[in-house]
Amino acid sequence: MNDLVYAVELTITGLLIGVMYAMVALGFVLIYKASAVFNFAQGAMTLFAALMVVGLRPVFGLAGALAAALAGMAVIAVAVERFVLRPLVGRSALAIFMATVAVASILEGVAQIVWGNQPRGLKLDLPAAPLQFHGVYVSPADLMGAGVAGLSVLLIALFFRWTRVGLGLRALASDPIAAQAMGVPTHRVWAAAWTLAGAVAIVAGVLWGSRIGVHFGMTQITLKALPILIIGGIESIPGVILAGLLVGAAEALGEGFLGPIVGGGVQEMIAYLAALLVLLLRPHGLLGEKSVERI
């Protein structure tokens, strides 16, 4: 296999993974947009969502399980809004961040109480054999996964573009008190944002679950999202898509060509080093917003 074909194949593999990274990162973006806070519970939500789908599938079938999971995530969203966000309005981002750590702990505990801690398979019945184009292998499952993820991202981006909820969210993140004074129904908007993040968690959970199984360790996949967030810009949906693709490709190529030279798993390093580089050049990410400050 010559280097070119290899590079092409790596790039494609990387890009397909990149879309899935972006999907995970998107969950963070949604919450950040709504309350300018880093949602530590996103990983636990992803696990919880995937477990719900797996657990309910035998009863309702895949479609039914997805719907039920969405309902479940909505319930969680409403609870989080009522019992976490509302009492903490106006408090520091750090305090709210810590509250999401608490939420993660609760979700993880409940998930393990309900579903146990044994890993579960989540098969999507996608064609298994790889497709071949001019000697380059592409997995139809990955293609499909990337397609679904891409579509979800697009839908969400459009939702933000064309509804005033998007504007309301940004206002809310900028100054919740003033937003309330404008008549933004904070409670509903927050619940909606968290539900949306829950929906993203379902898609991410199912897609990743079909690759790596549904298991507690899944929460760690969300760490992959962090460098992507800062590369793309924490509040930018197009930004994280772009960054996801970039990181996916860079990781694959880096692992393929650089890894052998330095003799180590450099994947993670690449993502983080790229993130640091971007930060030095553009402190607010590629497409993120500069924080507005003037005297």
Binding site: S174, D175, V184
Partner: protein, 247 residues
């Protein structure tokens, strides 16, 4: 005035911050339907607090109404959320502007109309605001965080106007405005009041301006009303000056 219910009525309102600072000590005041009422008083007298108590922004700042009643169109509003009050027509232009700094001017103005759904009306109001403050039109796509102080003040007032209020609470609307714009703002207050019947409760330091538009004035002194009545009487009695010196 037994027959007509006033638009807004405060009765013996006491406000505490953080459970320990008594900022209002039983304030009573009335804004009649279609009236313009000025709140005067020295720094720290409690003007902003009074407005915040009405719009219920107070809670978010650690304050609460400990005693007394606040009624809007005869109905107690002490338990409503700010958002609900906005839908009922009470719009508060906050002290310190509190613009959404990350949003541009136009987005801020649109946020002012968040609870409205008449697209055409919003369009035309937007135009009206731009006509009132041409400077804002020039800076439409500028993030408000970068605006100059006066431009921010214009954006804050414009954003309030976009809510098509029935009662507008203005906290020091002319602060930081150049004279030309300041008098323009008061011209608009007068116009909205006469043409649309919008009522105003405004706290203002510029005595001359305030008294010119207000039909009624209250002077606050350390959290209590020390004078209430016609602006003319106030000016004549020299009471305002007295209040200002804290005597």
């Amino acid at each position: 005035m037994a027959a007509t219910v006033p638009l807004l009525e405060l009765e013996g309102v006491e406000v505490v911050y953080d459970g320990s600072v008594l900022a209002l000590k039983g304030v009573s005041l009335v804004v009649p339907e279609g009236g313009v009422v000025a709140l005067l008083g020295a720094n720290g007298a409690g003007k902003s607090t009074t407005l915040k108590a009405v719009s219920r922004v107070l809670a978010a700042e650690g304050g609460s109404v400990r005693r007394g009643r606040i009624r809007f169109r005869g109905e107690a509003i002490d338990t409503r959320t700010t958002a609900e009050l906005v839908r009922r027509g009470i719009v508060h232009v906050l002290e310190g502007r509190r613009l959404f700094r990350q949003l541009d001017v136009e987005e801020n103005l649109r946020m002012g109309a968040y609870s409205r759904s008449d697209r055409a009306g919003i369009r035309s109001d937007l135009e009206e605001v731009y006509a009132l403050f041409p400077r804002l039109r020039e800076r439409r796509k500028q993030k408000t965080g970068y605006l100059s102080g006066g431009e921010q003040q214009m954006a804050a007032i414009g954003r309030g106007l976009m809510g098509r209020p029935a009662l507008m609470l203005l906290d020091e609307p002319t602060m930081g405005l150049a004279p030309a714009i300041a008098s323009e703002v008061f011209a608009v207050v007068r116009r909205l009041n006469t043409e649309r019947g919008v009522a105003f409760l405004l706290s203002e330091q510029n005595l001359g301006l305030a008294l010119r538009v207000a039909g009624h004035a209250y002077v606050l002194e350390s959290g209590s009303v020390s004078f209430a009545g016609e602006p003319a009487a106030l000016a004549g009695a020299g009471r305002a000056e007295a209040a200002y010196f804290g005597a």
